[in-house]
Point group: C2
Chain length 599, copies 2
């Protein structure tokens, strides 16, 4: 049996050595984020993940969530209790504003803690993630009245939040949203329409659910510029904060999904009984803009799902590989009963999993720290630079880490051999659960287009050039360290950074003149960026580890493993960079050659 254990040692290493936790704690508002407090938070979160969420993961998969006759939804056994404990312990408000009852911890700390919820129970973790998105939308753009009415309850977790974007004809293309919102005399709106794929759109964890809904007012211009954002609560809220009448929004059905069964995915009907009462967030016609601001965080959060599920798959695979004895290990004494972990190919798979998780974790946490600096740093120039870096990285964190998560979940099954295909083993659930992460909050293709079209296109590659320059510094330092492993990493990384720079130049130079040729290579470009940026973070890890080892500081066994994962990632993943560059730069001919009918 494998039990989720939060990888505290690596989390601490990345936060402290790569993401600059000490510096973050000195930013205004983060005085509580001292190393000791953060260590205590991580430890307690790890316990909750191990003791409460991990055992429920398989229960949720088997039971799923069920829609009752009355339109309510019954979640899987134990989930409501777990949610209540989660809120009582204050986890829901960890990184939320103290103005509304939150603890105001940095994004960096939240990233690590969220990774634990995702690693132990992806379907559970979605609920607070979605609530967090809804909180942010109201906090950034809502009126004081909306904030006072909703935020304290949502930060405490007493009410959850949802994001209602998708309609049958409007998935990635929000310009096609048709849900209507008609202004009423009292300043509220009546909302009519149907939304699909609404995560935790209905459930039994809490008394109320706060839906954030994209809709069009009657005179709105067509397309994306005519979309407004509304708060539509399941129950209206009285002036004293108590719950009032049931609002006209109903769960019509739940989807039958490949994975994350414990997370109810609802079809919601708004206004079938006369109109759902909604309250405008911010101004009319600015809804999409508000969504985009919020989406950065949601996308980052999904990236951490990729990391979490891959870590969990790795832990289960290692546990199995230690226990399972099968075949003589080449090079081992005859008749030695060694687990399959001794076989070179099994070690290769395990190390690829571990190195990939560590790379994506490092990239994710460093990005979270950049968000913290972007929001809190006293120097405006620094805030701007950090924001540009974070915005450049977010589509990579989302797109690459989730693709990685899927591959690693599948590799975890492979380590188990035939047992991996048996549902009771538990490894297959991660494959099924992870499969949504490259799709929701924008597919990998959408992330790649965002990376190329917005993040690189809008500043002509300036932020990318800055990232490349800092990776070149890492390469030089690795080369100068005079250690064989570090030198080998440096050589791979240099080739990788070269490839990324060349591909980036191609993107910048051709995006306007040959957009289709550039977009045909968007996903390979994102993959290239993920491998190189992740590899560079592991290069930094190796530098820190080698330095500490030379100084006989820290846990030598852990630090040697950090060098090994960096080396492995360089030799098995960064090696793909040049090939990906070739695909980006010269791979569009056939993509664009075929007529639609020839497929």
């Amino acid at each position: 049996m494998s039990q989720y254990r939060a990888p505290l040692a690596d989390m601490q290493f990345v936060m402290t050595e790569l993401a600059g936790l000490d510096e973050i704690a000195k930013l205004p508002g983060f005085a509580d984020a001292t190393p000791d407090t953060v260590a205590a938070i991580l430890e307690e979160a790890g316990k909750f993940a191990t003791d409460v969420l991990d055992p429920l993961n398989v229960v949720g998969d088997r039971e799923g969530a069920t829609r009752r006759e009355d339109g309510g939804v019954t979640t899987a056994s134990g989930f409501k209790d777990a949610y209540e404990q989660f809120c009582e312990l204050g986890w829901n408000g960890l990184a939320k504003s103290p103005d509304f009852g939150g603890q105001g911890m940095p994004h960096l700390v939240a990233a690590a803690v969220d990774e634990m919820w995702n690693g132990s129970n992806l379907a559970f973790g979605l609920c607070p993630m979605l609530t967090g998105g809804a909180i942010e939308a109201i906090e950034l753009n809502g009126s004081d009245a909306l904030k006072q009415t909703y935020l304290p309850k949502m930060v405490a977790g007493e009410w959850t939040g949802t994001m209602n974007l998708t309609e049958p004809q409007a998935g990635s293309d929000l310009a096609a949203v048709r849900t209507k919102a008609v202004p009423q005399a009292d300043g509220s709106y009546k909302v009519y329409g149907s939304k699909i794929f609404i995560t935790y759109g209905e459930h039994d964890y809490t008394d109320n659910i706060v839906h954030l809904v994209l809709a069009r007012t009657p005179d709105a211009p067509p397309g994306t510029k005519g979309i407004s954002l509304f708060v539509v609560p399941k129950f209206l809220v009285n002036a004293d904060g108590s719950l009032g009448a049931r609002n006209d929004v109903r769960c019509v059905s739940l989807e039958h999904k490949l994975g994350i069964h414990a997370s109810p995915t609802a079809v919601l009907a708004f206004g079938d009984g006369g109109g759902a009462i909604g309250y405008l967030v911010g101004e009319e016609n600015h809804g999409l803009e508000y969504m985009f601001v919020m989406m950065n965080l949601a996308r980052f959060g999904v990236g951490m799902q990729g990391v979490g599920v891959a870590e969990r798959a790795y832990q289960r695979a290692v546990a199995y590989a230690r226990e399972r004895v099968q075949g003589r290990v080449v090079g081992a004494p005859k008749d030695a009963a060694t687990g399959i972990i001794g076989h070179p190919d099994v070690r290769r798979m395990l190390l690829t999993m571990r190195a990939s998780v560590e790379a994506a974790r490092a990239l994710g946490y460093v990005t979270a720290a950049a968000l913290d600096r972007a929001h809190r740093h006293p120097d405006a120039e620094t805030r701007k630079r950090e924001l540009a870096f974070a915005e450049l990285m977010i589509p990579i964190v989302k797109g690459w880490s989730t693709e990685m998560g899927q591959e690693m979940a599948s590799l975890g099954v492979q380590v188990h051999g035939g047992m991996g295909f048996i549902e009771e083993t538990g490894a297959a659930q991660y494959v099924r659960d992870a499969r949504i992460t490259t799709i929701y909050e924008g597919t990998t293709g959408i992330q790649a287009n965002d990376l190329i079209g917005r993040k690189i296109g809008r500043d002509q590659g300036k932020a990318l050039t800055a990232a490349v320059a800092s990776m070149r510094e890492v390469t030089r330092a690795l080369d100068a360290a005079g250690n064989a492993d570090l030198k080998a990493i440096a050589a791979r990384l240099r080739a990788g950074v070269d490839a990324l720079e060349e591909a980036g130049r191609f993107v910048v130079s051709k995006l306007q003149t040959e957009p289709r040729a550039v977009l045909a290579g968007a996903v390979p470009f994102l993959e290239l960026a993920g491998i190189v940026c992740g590899g560079a973070q592991l290069g930094r890890s190796a530098l820190v580890a080698a330095k500490k080892l030379a100084a006989s500081e820290g846990d030598a066994r852990f630090l040697r493993a950090k060098v090994a994962t960096a080396r492995h990632f360089a030799d098995h993943c960064v090696t793909h960079a040049a090939g990906l560059r070739d695909t980006v730069v010269a791979g569009s001919a056939a993509v664009l050659a075929l007529a639609d009918e020839q497929f």
Copy 2:
């Protein structure tokens, strides 16, 4: 809705232009395999796949197979009827020996037809595949009495066959088999033991099931040299061929699996009621040898599962991408309602799927043709050469095509976006079904070890060198053709062949002295070999297509698409070759550096 359509045009193209169907038809015993007959066979098989098997695929997934109280198994609705039709139409005996009622068609024809069963209904196709393996084991090594008793019924499909290898402690490691076989006075044996993961180990399609069982006789030496092979029928067979007493083998349970739900995976108990009567195949202690001969074909068959399921995933993805309208296509007129097939990234995904399927199909069929020549060619030298080529290719066909099949099934989900994650859409089933193909009949790691340790190690790379030489001819011909696409393919392929050759030299030179370093790169080597050998087959396709286009022969639309898929595969897949070589040649340091406890 998407309906499976056998890709007859590409199947015919590959068989005729790449695999040499005309030549195969001239080999002794294959006189019936004329182009017209083969075309008629493919067309009829395609109809059966579309009309009967494809509609049942989702039924089988939802209902699965159920073990009854009495130990029997009820298969999903419609499967028994479909199986009966399948046998009545003669499909079960298509490539079986006419001596026992088969039609004696070449492996090449069977490969294409099997691809259709796999593409339309993987779980169904497993049953005849397993029967085929059992037939071969008896035909090659059984006594005349065994052959006469069992083969006519099995060739007709009246009785099915199973392969009983795995035990809880003996998965990939058959040396650990413990099932016992005790000789009886009448020449039969009594078999005692437990076997797991027995595909179609119990079902209701037929009156009898013929289990082929690996077991040890009392005095057998330990390890792989003490394993014998037995026929253990579910019902004993009377002298007149009628069914006699129920034998002492029982289905104890069925597994609850990620996919292929319609295929019952049984735990079988032999001898709990006094001993299951078994009949020795061939000689004692040669069981593993017999299994290995047979395994080549079974592995080839699983490779065709990879091709079939990827083709099906492609077809469904294309159908969805044509219908689904979402977002404005860059470069298309404003307000044009084009399907998402117009988006460059969607086209990239579809073309990657199609090119990969075509590459794996070509490699598979060419290998099947080599098996036909190896068995039937009048010239001994040719037989030897073709056998060496086929044996070299089989682990690649199995390992690479199934890894490809999984990736493409997942890419098929990605094309569907959120709808792909909903089970009713149908795309997710292919991901679940395909997940077993890289595991059973030997994991990808086992295939890679076979490729390196046996196929390359035993002849010091001679067969590989011959394959490389023939790929260099393809490269030269592409270069000489004076067509921009062909030249571009030539450049990629040349780099790929160089990489394969260098990696092969490393393998040959270090296998004895540094086996663990070589084995750490075994799977990357297999992937490299698959990409390059598959790319070379597509290079051949492009040559043929370009020649026909220049001569205004054939269907120009189809032939242009063949050039495009070859170009795409070169630009998006063969580009990975050099990176994989680097991993093979210099990627073992970290794999071997960590102690087991450091994982």
